[in-house]
Symmetry: C2
Subunit: 516 residues, 2 copies
């Protein structure tokens, strides 16, 4: 295998599984060009009313073109409550199909059963993010080909540009009509936005909406347009929406997490970011939720209103909107049921998709309109490179989500993390895997201090002398390593088991096989 | 010039202006296939906030690539109140550009000034519908090439499939933000839906939103996505929205029109179409408005609720929705300001676009979900072919609008028209121009009786013996001609000055030059 060094000094294969790879050149070095994926012209051939409903999987298979090696895509809005990925893949395996490519936006522990289908050869590999045992299986080299991980914006781009060709898109829908219009906000399985499935609906050769709630035409809102849908399969249940909750919906009681959130809030205020009409993106982790809460308190105290927020949504964010502290919540994914309800009922809660929020191959995306993004990490290194995918033992246990897109777009990208977890330090000389390059990371906030990327002298000037515990990353690392020691390097083989794509499709890093 | 006969026996050129033409083969004979228009991959090359605002036309021109012969597109939601088509084309002409192709969805009398630019050579021809003096100029042979008229759905299809390549799209927007998100419902120039510009925004090489109301990001609803917009030009006024009114918004007092509307309503009821959950499309003409009103009265009397309506919207339709008689009004174009207000404020009033409502090259479109469409005509012939484009003197004075799409899709298509206008009979042996073939027309209602297409024996069976004045078209024509006489044939030359495209892109008829 021929290896080349990318702009971050990471060694990546020149070619893998028959595909020529583009080594990462820098966050904004992509020169674009070229044309989008070819789309076939579909056709209404016959007059008369249209009804696309299919009442059983067997009937569905009869209407589809299936083959070994085909790529089947899913969206992950039901997160750990999804029923469809397992059921679809098991049924396709039962048909005797082999070497299928699973292309979900993300997998969760509920999908651990796919490991058996990987072992049996029904599934070749995954093109998508993995959380759980499928990631472990990938790390251990069980997949026939290297997995490909992309950010939400990167996945849209890959589908749009033809890098990820989908033969069959399976779209879980809490509400759909006989024409195929669908949304994520109505019915017993309502999970909120459904926009991650947009690219699949536009570009897949065959598109199936699966619903447990067939409603009269027209299904409004038409978040997925029936004009792009071939069949509507009705089932008893698409999933359990209570399991979309990511971690906690209650404010953390961890003093460390609260401390970090407080520091991040104080930094944002000191840096002058917290001003009338500003915008922000927060996540759904404990620190992010606390940050959102604290930010809201400062906004209320100072009479400041945010123009909008981007990203995954929780009840805490919704409360800020209800209190008039955020003008619009633009939402790509609901992290709790309060967010689902708000999206359904509040016209200021606006559904968006990864094209709108994150796509680099567009005339701008909303990530670029965000003043500050507060994101988590598994590791950070002295070059401010960030890892959100692997743990320090090398295991691939997390997806990218919107991380790379939000980090690249925001005016100020802040990584918040405890300085160590279970005695594993967050700071390392080199991260195990690079998800995003240091050039898009501006600030690292831990409970032991705030490190500002030297590239951002402007931020440093603004917050100097404002009582914040400023440190450098080397200082911080020495402090932490004095407590934790330097962890052993993971035992990794040479084989690349997964590619980490930057949002432009270049390979920013590879995940290597973890040896037993 | 080589001529061929199409499926309706109309002679159309095999090739025109260097383009090979497809003769019409039948309403549903299109076998589709092929690929959509190639779309270039755009790119966000730089980090940081995005601002696309340009404050003057001169600055705009500097940012665009302009050339002789380029195609410039517009949407017509401002109808006779539009300021932008004239201003843009005059300014492009002032730059010395020649042979420009104007590709509006429709032109109105307010655009009569374009005739001078046609005469001067700045404009070569029009690809779009024409109402007014530009149509007269076309009829008289003043354009260098043949104009091309398409239905709303046909225009979307042509752009999607690459038949109509747009170099520059100019989108008038009553509200837009610095990123290019835009809608038609906010601001002093609010005109309602803006979806006719959707195809232009998706497929044009250069996309400019022009607004007189720049609002803070994000502009919600984002009916036009800023991700598809290159520049946002601010101007003092994009138009006068009071002039979107088509004809009248008050109920007609004409006994003939009321009589026809009453007959159409009675027919719909007798045919069993008026049942719980049915759907309909009505237009904005006097008869259509009266029909909508009468239909509402029957629905209220019988406790029937429609599931949805499609098409252009008026206050009369909005009132039915407010009274709970229509579940959803899906709206592609507002015909009065009451409709604009309703679209802005009522979540059951849903904005749609010509892709959703009318596109034949999709996996179905909403027109197919409509039980009954009531449409107007300038002429009807004994084969039930309908003309909505030319008058009996041969002059091209009207656009197609959604006529062909609605007629092809609806379960029952009813043409309502007075039996003669200004002593010109509506019924002829052969229409001057065919806009839609008789195979998609089910019923003709005039004040002198109702004629059912023999193809629809099912409808005939249902309404027989229900007290309706049923006639045949030959009977009706003889009656009318006995009063009006048979009008002289228009004096037409051989030269085709305009093509009438069926929604699939085939040529259903040509308009010939009108000799003085």
């Amino acid at each position: 295998m021929q290896w080349v060094e990318n702009a971050l000094g990471r060694r990546v294969p020149a070619e893998l599984d028959g595909r020529r790879l583009k080594p990462f050149k820098g966050a904004f070095q992509d020169q674009g060009g070229g044309v989008m994926a070819q789309r076939l012209v579909p056709l209404t051939t016959t007059p008369g009313r249209i009804d696309k409903v299919v009442r059983s999987w067997d009937d569905l298979w009869k209407r589809l073109s299936l083959r070994d090696g085909m790529t089947v895509s899913f969206h992950h809005h039901l997160r750990n409550g999804d029923f469809l990925v397992n059921e679809t893949m098991r049924r396709l395996a039962d048909l005797g199909l082999k070497n299928l490519v699973v292309a979900p936006s993300a997998l969760f522990p509920v999908h651990d059963g796919l490991v058996d289908l990987i072992k049996s050869g029904a599934i070749s590999h995954v093109e998508g993010s993995m959380n759980g045992q499928v990631g472990v299986a990938c790390s251990k080299g069980l997949m026939k080909k290297a997995a490909v991980l992309r950010s939400h914006g990167g996945r849209y781009r890959a589908i749009q540009d033809g890098d990820l060709k989908i033969d069959l898109a399976v779209i879980a829908a809490p509400a759909a009509d006989c024409f195929g219009n669908a949304n994520g906000v109505l019915g017993k399985s309502a999970f909120g936005p459904i926009g991650i499935a947009l690219a699949d609906s536009l570009f897949a050769d065959q598109v199936v909406v699966v619903t447990d709630n067939l409603i009269p035409f027209p299904c409004v809102p038409m978040s997925i347009s029936g004009l792009n849908v071939d069949h509507v399969l009705t089932v008893d249940s698409i999933g359990d929406p209570t399991k979309i909750v990511s971690g906690t919906t209650k404010l953390t009681r961890s003093p460390t997490q609260l401390n970090i959130a407080d520091l991040a809030t104080r930094f944002v205020e000191a840096a002058g970011i917290l001003r009338e009409g500003f915008s922000f993106q927060g996540g759904a982790g404990g620190i992010s939720l606390a940050f959102t809460q604290f930010l809201g308190e400062r906004m209320a105290a100072r009479g400041i209103k945010a123009s909008f927020s981007v990203g995954g949504t929780t009840g805490i964010l919704v409360d800020l909107m209800k209190r008039g502290l955020i003008n619009y919540v633009t939402d790509g994914q609901s992290f709790d049921l309060a967010a689902v309800e708000s999206l359904r009922d509040n016209p200021r809660h606006v559904e968006i998709d990864p094209f709108i929020s994150y796509c680099q191959h567009a005339r701008g995306c909303f990530a670029h309109m965000v003043d500050v993004a507060v994101l988590g990490a598994t590791e950070i290194d002295l070059d401010f490179n960030v890892n959100v995918n692997t743990h320090s033992d090398g295991l691939l246990l997390h997806g990218i989500g919107g991380f790379a897109d939000a980090a690249a777009g925001a005016g100020c990208t802040i990584i918040t993390a405890p300085s160590f977890r279970k005695r594993i330090p967050i700071l390392r000389e080199k991260v195990t895997t690079v998800t995003a390059p240091g050039e898009v990371i501006d600030v690292v906030v831990t409970e032991r201090g705030i490190a500002i990327n030297p590239r951002r002298q402007d931020l440093l000037e603004k917050v100097k002398g404002r009582g914040l515990p400023l440190v450098t990353l080397p200082q911080l690392m020495d402090q932490i390593h004095a407590l934790t020691g330097i962890p052993d390097a993971p035992r990794l083989g040479d084989r690349p088991v997964a590619l980490i794509e930057w949002r432009d499709g270049s390979v920013i890093d590879v995940v290597r096989q973890v040896l037993d």
